[in-house]
């Protein structure tokens, strides 16, 4: 494997829960247990699991938003929770993040062009350069010119997703983190977004981490998969290996649930055709 970009060592993470009227009982609800894995440069990894398995928590840990209880999170060889804030910020700026829900992740009062330009504004680029870059990125992700002056409310789900992707890639990130990039979208829009993400990968070769519950989506966005179940990694490997030779019980049910819907005669007829 080439240079390790992200490395997690025995990470245990969770949330503090306060119970009782006087908030005296403090308890930690552990979501991730003993997670270790690493990702090389320009590698594409998918994290797969059902709701409640800890996928989104794992992303929070990687994005520097949730300090793990135990273990270390290394980005470019530096433990992001044990270095000075300035240095951490510098490293985290290399990450572009596409949040889960396009309907709730955009500020409804800002114009689309302001939203897309925000990452550059934060690092203090000048206005002209931001404007130029916004137009460039919007064209790349397929946002129409007229949409730049709209607010997100006026856009459809697919267009909002394009805005989120544009915002994530505007600062040329080396790592792209996608949280359920297509789960809120229809099949045809999902296909447009999957093609766009593949286009981004072939142009810029970022390290890509995708969280999804759908193996069929993962095969378009990843070469390697990690299967999470109840906060533990139950299976890890190349996508084909996991698909054709699942070892864990959960992976087996997951894979067989697809075969149920795709191996009927009518659909295999369609497979041969395309």
């Amino acid at each position: 494997m080439s240079e390790e970009v992200i490395k997690l060592e025995r990470v245990t993470a969770g949330y503090k829960v306060v119970k009782g009227a006087l908030s005296i009982w403090k308890q930690v609800n552990v979501v991730l247990r003993d997670i270790s894995f690493s990702i090389g440069k320009s590698e594409r990894l998918a994290i797969i699991g059902e709701s409640g398995s800890g996928k989104t928590t794992l992303l929070k840990v990687i994005l520097g938003l949730l300090k793990p209880i135990k273990g270390s999170v290394l980005l470019y060889g530096r433990d992001i929770y044990r270095i000075p804030d300035e240095e951490r910020e510098k490293i985290l700026r290399k990450i572009g993040y596409v949040p889960q829900d396009p309907y709730r992740s955009l500020n409804p009062v800002l114009k689309v062009k302001t939203i897309i330009g925000e990452p550059l504004e934060v690092i203090g680029e000048n206005k002209e350069k931001i404007e130029k870059r916004v137009v460039e990125v919007a064209r790349f992700v397929g946002l129409p010119w007229s949409a730049l002056d709209d607010t997100p409310e006026e856009l459809s789900g697919g267009m909002r997703q394009r805005v989120l992707i544009a915002r994530a890639i505007i600062a040329n990130p080396e790592i792209l983190v996608l949280d359920e990039p297509t789960s809120a979208l229809d099949v045809s829009i999902q296909a447009q977004i999957l093609n766009l993400l593949n286009n981004i990968y072939s142009n810029f070769k970022p390290t890509m981490i995708t969280v999804t519950h759908d193996l069929a989506v993962a095969q378009y966005l990843a070469d390697r998969v990690i299967i999470l179940k109840d906060g533990c990694i139950v299976e890890e490997g190349k996508l084909e290996e996991v698909l054709y030779n699942p070892r864990h019980e959960y992976t087996k049910t997951l894979v067989s649930s697809y075969l149920y819907t795709t191996t009927t005669n009518s659909v295999s007829g369609f497979n041969n055709k395309s």
């Binding site: 999902q190 093609n195 997951l254 009927t264």
Partner: protein, 322 residues
């Protein structure tokens, strides 16, 4: 065969207050569904599939504008602007909502859910509703233990099963399921589809499923209608539609579905369904259609395809779609 659902030139619209125009979500749908059939409505968001399903289930919002007719087992429920679902909604037609996580009352136990439904419909008392609850829960593969649980104590798949059991408890003969698998995890989809299929086959419930995932239809439905911009653009037996789709939109829907273990390029058409405010005299798919030509300036009619008398397509150039 008895007709379970029949619509005659059904149009449903919503008033757009800003523009002071009616946006038509369903435009002139003629549909016949036989009793005991499992029928699937496929389309993207904005295609009008949910509005049509709501009209059958009797849960259109009061501000919706309707024209045309809907019959449920020979009873006229929609007659132009008057709508009367008394004795039909809940008793004959029942509805399984889209999101199991938010469709159950968090303050009620599962037993109470059954009690309130059956009390309102048939004035049953607690003990009778409990025995019905146990019976229907066993049909969906749940034990009577969960009667005392609150919704948050159940997993997503179990909640979906409870919703299906609730729909069954009222002895409904038609069940309308809105996206039954879109909000449950991938690993649970097969189980839910298997269950719905079992209800259809063993209990002769007429099943109407609304989905955007055309590959899912193959698992349970024997007939499929594809909707675009409020119209049915292709209708026929599921196996025939999946093997040789004749409408360019159906073809695109199939080419967009990622299939596990099959590496194929996804070929979406650019654009999204158009919103329609007035009567149009052209084909609504014209702008996105790769086969569009001069004749597409007039609305196509339902054209029968081949020898199969149940397969119809709304496209002038369906011969070229191969």
């Amino acid at each position: 065969m008895v007709l379970a659902v029949k619509t005659v030139n059904l149009r449903i619209g919503y008033l757009d207050e800003e523009e002071e125009k009616i946006q038509w979500a369903v435009r002139g749908v003629d549909l016949e569904i036989q009793e005991g059939e499992s029928f699937c409505l496929v389309g993207e968001s904005g295609s009008g599939k949910t509005t049509l399903a709501n009209a059958i289930a009797g849960i259109l919002p009061p501000h919706a504008v309707t024209q045309g007719k809907v019959y449920i087992f020979d009873k006229l429920v929609v007659d132009d602007s008057s709508r009367n679902y008394n004795g039909v909604r809940g008793r004959i037609v029942n509805y399984i909502p889209q999101n199991p996580g938010t469709s159950l009352n968090p303050f009620l136990t599962i037993e109470d859910h059954f009690y309130y439904v059956l009390r309102d419909l048939y004035k049953y008392d607690k003990s009778k509703s409990k025995s019905i609850a146990i019976e229907t829960l066993s049909k969906v593969g749940l034990t009577s233990e969960i009667l005392d649980y609150y919704p948050h104590e159940l997993s997503g798949g179990m909640k979906q099963r409870v919703l299906i059991a609730l729909a069954l408890a009222s002895n409904a003969r038609i069940i309308v399921a809105d996206e039954p698998t879109s909000s449950v995890d991938a690993s649970l989809r097969a189980g839910i589809l298997g269950l719905l299929s079992k209800l259809n086959k063993e209990y002769r419930v007429t099943l109407i499923i609304v989905t955007h995932d055309i590959k899912m239809t193959s698992a349970i439905c024997n007939r499929t209608a594809v909707m675009y911009s409020g119209e049915i653009v292709e209708i026929g037996k599921t196996s025939i539609i999946l093997q040789s789709p004749k409408h360019p939109y159906t073809r695109m829907l199939m080419e967009c579905v990622p299939i596990l273990g099959v590496e194929k390029p996804l070929k979406p058409l650019p654009g999204e369904p158009t919103r329609i405010f007035e009567d149009i005299s052209w084909c609504s798919f014209r702008e996105r259609c790769p086969y569009a030509s001069v004749e597409c300036k007039t609305t196509p009619s339902m054209i029968p395809v081949g020898d199969d008398e149940s397969h119809f397509v709304k496209c002038w150039r369906f011969h070229e779609v191969a």
